[in-house]
């Protein structure tokens, strides 16, 4: 597939943004600025960037706890994101929801359920709205290999297929449900793709460390879905670089294997590609990184200075009225 220079630069920028975002998240977590716990998505950037490169205005997104930075790619302002992550007033729910619930409906984000899999059908419901409106928009529903074992995933996929709804299910197969490896918890080799046949949906398996592979698979399936043929499943093979949450030292797995996967770094791979194909110079790349870093630091400073909501505001947002 031939790509325009701008497309490749954009893709690379988004990869870098997501990488640096996820690293910053770990940093501010270590500094004690984040309540609760975080799930770094370092190393898994390509799945999001590659699929989201196929998005159009009016599409909907159901992301997961990893990587939270995907909300930035989708368009949520960094100030909003970091404020929510730090539990502050300027977050999308004023710090009531937190790191797992960074979301803006105006950007098409549907939200996330901390009880995994309960939100897969939320994406299906948004598909119902699109179908009723009759547009060619679609819903991107991300879930992990761990979540794929839950019943509601089956119910949601079956319903989407029965109703022929425009939903792309993206199985981000990073091989771990906390400490349990996919081979221990999942009966098939490909928890996304192998199960598609059970719903009569098409599926693709892509290399989650190669953003262009992800994009190409996603393009094929989203074109199919946008043409009104119903849902599909994309499975991206990747690897969770860090522990499930910060502090998880991941001693349950072979460090050698982890190192092997780290060498398949999707950001490095793309950097090499655009340098070799002369899309961008090292100086241009450095400038991109610096700008993103500065933007992230500014947003973190903003969120740091944002206030907490008052106790009187605790009950707000429970009901519309």
């Amino acid at each position: 597939m031939a790509y325009s220079k701008n497309f490749l630069i954009d893709i690379y920028e988004e990869l870098v943004e997501l990488r640096l975002f996820e690293e910053k998240l770990v940093e501010i977590y270590n500094l004690g600025k984040v309540p609760g716990h975080i799930h770094s998505g370092v190393g898994e950037e390509a799945t999001y960037v590659g699929t989201l490169a196929t998005r159009k205005d009016g599409d909907y997104y159901k992301i997961t706890h990893r990587p939270v930075g995907a909300s930035a790619i989708i368009g949520v302002p960094l100030n909003t994101i970091f404020s929510e992550i730090m539990g502050k007033r300027d977050g999308n729910s004023g710090g009531r929801g937190g790191v797992n619930h960074v979301s803006l409906l105006s950007k098409g984000m549907l939200g996330f359920s901390g009880t995994l899999a309960c939100d897969i059908a939320v994406g299906v419901g948004a598909g119902l709205t699109i179908k009723k409106k009759g547009t060619d928009n679609i819903v991107y529903v991300y879930y992990g290999d761990g979540t794929s074992s839950r019943g509601p995933v089956h119910e949601a996929m079956n319903l989407a297929a029965v109703w022929q709804l425009p939903v792309l299910f993206i199985c981000e197969n990073n091989q771990f449900a906390i400490s349990t490896h996919a081979t221990e918890g999942i009966s098939v080799e490909n928890p996304g793709a192998d199960r598609a046949a059970g719903y009569g949906m098409p599926s693709k398996i892509v290399d989650g460390t190669d953003v262009l592979s992800v994009y190409e698979g996603a393009k094929e399936l989203t074109d199919y879905i946008r043409s009104g043929k119903g849902p599909a499943i994309l499975e991206a093979k990747s690897y969770r670089w860090r522990g499930h949450f910060e502090g998880d030292q991941a001693r349950y797995r072979d460090a050698g294997v982890t190192e092997e996967w780290k060498r398949k770094d999707c950001v490095e791979k793309m950097k090499k590609y655009i340098c070799e194909s002369k899309v961008a110079t090292q100086e241009e790349i450095n400038a991109i990184c610096k700008k993103i870093n500065d933007d992230l630091d500014k947003a973190i400073k903003f969120a740091d200075e944002s206030q907490s909501i008052t106790v009187e505001e605790i009950y707000e947002y429970m009901y519309v009225k």
Binding site: L31, G247, Q249, S308
Partner: protein
């Protein structure tokens, strides 16, 4: 001290893997930390020169400094010279924590409930409902003295009400004003009434008799008089008709229309009818003089004047003197029969009770009639039962056939 896990609040520095001042790179494993669950391998977060603050074995709270990474050697030298206590300044851990914990939910207790704290003692629990306790407090009652009649002997609101009522009797009977009788000296009219009544009973042989008469027709006649008031010109009352009937009977029985001084009986050719009037100041007995010469309307007019003036205390001195017989009509009260005391030196007094509808037998058939008792007290020294029987017979005839009265 990095946060490694949801519940971690502090960690122990186990081992620095690098030496003080050495150059480190971002991502290098530089330190081992232990928390309550696990050993944590700490990766350096920046490139530079390490300056160690927390020594191995030190327990450090999450967010407090364990070391610096100086960007340059110069910066490192500057840092390592200043041996100040870096941990005296705290890095805020989730700056909102303090704000939230400072406003812990308070359990709201209504003011009304607080008053119970003084009432329920440590010594003994009083089994009573909330309402009963509230009522007891507001009525200033010691609830322990109240008897509980609710389920399981619980004191309920009704028990407090009952207690308050019973206390009201006790309170009243303990009241000095309540206990002090009022002494009213007998004076004036009351004194002469008392003397007359007492002497009457001491000096005569008084006996009584009574009969029930059917006054249905009498009432009908009285109603005609009332309805036709504009034709007869004055309001004729039951009392007037009874007075007229009495006068008729007295004319037939002169011994009854008499006075007795203990030696001689004096009968009178005229009837001066004494009429008992209940005035607020005491009994008045004005005399309708020469009543036997009067028509019913004349009786009515004169009697009305006397009665009104008697009630107002405006009778002149001799208007209560010279009576030959007395009547007393108590029919306005719920009194059926009384035994009036003779007005001396007269020899008899006649009274009239209230009129009531009753089921009576007439011609062997039950029917509803208006009935009234007439009763007489007579001086048995002068009159015998025979004479009284005849008087009652005639009186009954007149009242049951009222047209005879006006013949």
């Amino acid at each position: 001290m990095p946060r490694a896990g949801l519940t971690m609040v502090e960690g122990t520095v186990m081992m620095w893997k690098v030496e003080e001042g050495s150059e480190v790179k971002k991502g290098d494993s530089i330190l081992e930390i232990e928390n309550e669950k696990t050993m944590i391998d700490f990766e350096c977060t920046a490139d530079g020169f390490i300056h160690i603050v927390a020594e191995p074995g030190e327990v450090v709270a999450v967010g407090r400094r364990i070391g610096f990474v100086a960007e340059t050697k110069e910066e490192y030298n500057e840092l390592s010279k200043n041996k100040k206590d870096f941990n005296s300044t705290t890095v805020e851990v989730c700056s909102n924590d303090g704000e939230i914990s400072s406003s812990k939910q308070k359990f709201e207790i209504k003011k009304d409930n607080e008053i119970y704290s003084s009432h329920v003692t440590n010594k003994g629990h009083v089994r009573a409902t909330g309402l009963a306790k509230k009522m007891a407090i507001s009525a200033e009652i010691d609830i322990k003295k109240v008897n509980g009649t609710g389920p399981n002997g619980r004191i309920v609101a009704k028990d407090i009400d009952d207690y308050i009522n019973s206390m009201a009797i006790v309170n009243d009977t303990n009241n000095e004003k309540y206990l002090k009788p009022e002494v009213i000296p007998l004076t004036g009219i009351r004194r002469s009434i008392a003397k007359n009544m007492y002497e009457s009973l001491q000096n005569m042989a008084q006996s009584s008799a009574a009969v029930e008469v059917d006054v249905t027709k009498l009432m009908e006649m009285k109603k005609i008089f009332t309805d036709k008031i504009n034709i007869i010109g004055c309001k004729v009352t039951m009392n007037d008709i009874l007075a007229m009937a009495t006068v008729k009977v007295l004319k037939k029985h002169p011994l009854t229309n008499s006075t007795f001084d203990g030696t001689n009986i004096t009968t009178y050719p005229y009837v001066n009818l004494s009429v008992a009037v209940g005035a607020e100041n005491g009994l008045m007995v004005p005399v309708l003089k020469y009543a036997d010469k009067m028509t019913l309307t004349q009786i009515s007019t004169n009697l009305k004047d006397l009665v009104e003036r008697a009630k107002e205390g405006k009778l002149v001195s001799d208007e209560q003197l010279g009576g030959t017989f007395t009547i007393s009509n108590v029919g306005v009260f719920p009194i059926d029969i009384a035994t009036p005391i003779i007005n001396p030196p007269q020899v008899a007094i006649m009274g009239f009770g209230r009129s009531v509808k009753k089921m009576v037998i007439v011609n062997d058939e039950p029917c509803i009639r208006t009935m009234m008792n007439i009763f007489v007290t007579f001086d048995h020294r002068v009159l015998d039962g025979l004479e009284v029987g005849r008087i009652m017979y005639d009186m009954k005839e007149y009242l049951e056939n009222p047209e005879l009265i006006i013949v």
